[in-house]
Amino acid sequence: MLLDYDRLGWLKVALLAFTALVAAFLLLPVVFIVLLSFGSSRWLAFPPPGWTLKWYQELFADPSWIEAALTSARIATMTAILAVAIGLLASFALVRGEFRGREILRGLLLTPMVLPVVVFAIAIYAFFLRLGLGGTTTGFVVAHTVLALPFAIIPIATALEGFDKSIEDAAIVCGASPLQAKLRITLPSIRIGIFSAAIFSFLASWDEVVVAIFMASPTLQTLPVKIWGSLRSDLTPVIAAASSLLVALTLALMIVTALLRRKLQT
């Protein structure tokens, strides 16, 4: 009865009220930041004394914000492409391969996800200082690809595990080469997994702060580094404007994901 939604009685009321409270808690910062970005108070008074677009104007007038956003987009896109490509190859091996130590290798490839980022951040920072890759786009992309790889492998491998290999075999029996069969049959079948992998690896890089803080140079700053720097100096409403745009981007990504999933599943 505890798992029958309609038979919980007063308990359902209490639990739903609590759930609504938690939902409000989860929404609060997101909604708040968007409202704040339109508020006219430089001191972030809430509710704002008036409404304005000046923080957005300030944001777009400052080339360093635009540049940081473009840098982030460039690095995140390259990271997503690399992570999906490497992750796709690795997933086939991890799911289809039959060799000893497969589980250990899988564990190794997923480790960057569980190791505290700060440990990896100082390790790769020191390493890149020696290689001369510190503060370069290459350095950023490589470091972010390491962090994004688990987020690419997990959805692709899950999709691949759910795909019946005999369908691919049937294509080969029909005369397709193994590569053709993979490209024309298997990949389209696991496209939802690949798509999720691309989104997750993009976000893993786009939102990454810790490695970026260590690696950033005065000439190469990602958006999170720019926000981080502003946050530490003062809580200007320009950050709220930048943050609101990030929320809008998140919402857009969610909607695109939902629409594409629906389309791909039918």
Binding site: Y5, L26, G97, L109, V114, L115, A126, L149
Partner: protein
């Protein structure tokens, strides 16, 4: 002879499919394993060979406080997250799909929103003159602003906010896997809702709570951004201390040693979690 020959053909010389792993292994080997190992090496060689860095870390009261504080924050965050996540996951597991998808949407939105954005919002909300203090004072509940930021309260609120989705989502899976009929059977057996919760629902969701809780604990141990922005100097956490040792103090030996300690603790707990989840998967398959 012929048997051996056949076996030679049957077992491939190069393990099937291993080639596809090469790019991933090169990437992870060269840019993850090697840098991390180099860092660990540095903890026993910088500034001179020996264990003096570890001796310094473990022998000093200041550092001991950071270790203690790290575990304290992680433990508090984990407990609060579990307590808040369980009722939500419970409702999510059984509520009508339309309602559930709205709630899932809210959870995903909060999870996907930029980490700094969320933390920034909490900084503004929790500050002395922030919305929450003003609201509480306006309502006459308090007459002095509460210290909500730069202390344990601030870190806990900010971290629980970030960790909730990681606890709720797997727990929904665990709860959905429990047959509602089992709870009906318990009710007919005479178990009151409280007894059915304590004796059936809670024990059956314990594997999910343990796995999720351990994950939240491990993630909290090494968290950097939120504690750095919402925590106070008196309750610094390990990750922030490591960053400070490297960035401000340029003390690579001490920083590497602290990083190694964090790594060992994290990996040990991660292995424990894998065993929990693994054993659950085996039990589920049987």
């Amino acid at each position: 002879m012929s048997v051996e020959a056949q076996q030679g053909i049957a077992t491939p010389r190069i393990p099937a499919g291993l080639g596809g792993l090469l790019p991933a292994l090169i990437l992870i080997g060269l840019f993850f394993v090697v840098p991390v190992l180099t860092l660990l090496l540095r903890s026993v060689t910088d500034p001179a060979p020996g264990l003096q860095n570890y001796a310094a870390l473990l022998g000093d009261g200041t550092y001991a406080r950071v270790f203690f504080n790290t575990f304290l924050v992680a433990a508090v965050v984990t407990i609060v997250t579990v307590l808040v996540a369980f009722p939500v996951a419970w409702m999510l597991a059984i509520m009508p799909p339309a309602l559930a998808s709205i709630l899932f949407g809210i959870i995903i939105l909060s999870m996907w929103t930029n980490l700094l954005t969320r933390t920034y919002a909490w900084m503004v909300l929790l500050q002395r003159t922030g919305v929450i203090n003003r609201a509480l004072m306006g309502a006459g509940i308090i007459d002095q602003p509460l210290p909500l930021i730069n202390n344990l309260t601030g870190v806990t609120i900010g971290m629980v906010y970030i960790m909730l989705p990681f606890m709720i989502l797997p727990l929904v899976g665990t709860l959905r896997a429990i047959d509602p009929m089992t709870l009906r059977a318990a009710a007919l057996c005479g178990a009151s809702p409280l007894a059915a919760f304590r004796r059936i629902l809670l024990p059956l969701s314990l594997p999910g709570i343990a796995a999720g809780g351990l994950m939240v604990f491990v993630m909290s141990l090494g968290y950097f951004v939120t504690p750095a922005l919402l925590g106070g100097t008196s309750n610094m956490m390990l990750a922030e201390m490591i960053a400070q040792m490297i960035q401000s103090l340029l003390n690579w030996g001490l920083g590497s040693a602290a990083a190694f300690i964090l790594l060992v603790v994290t990996m040990a707990l991660y292995a424990l979690q894998l065993r929990l989840v693994g054993s659950k998967r085996v039990a589920g398959g049987a």
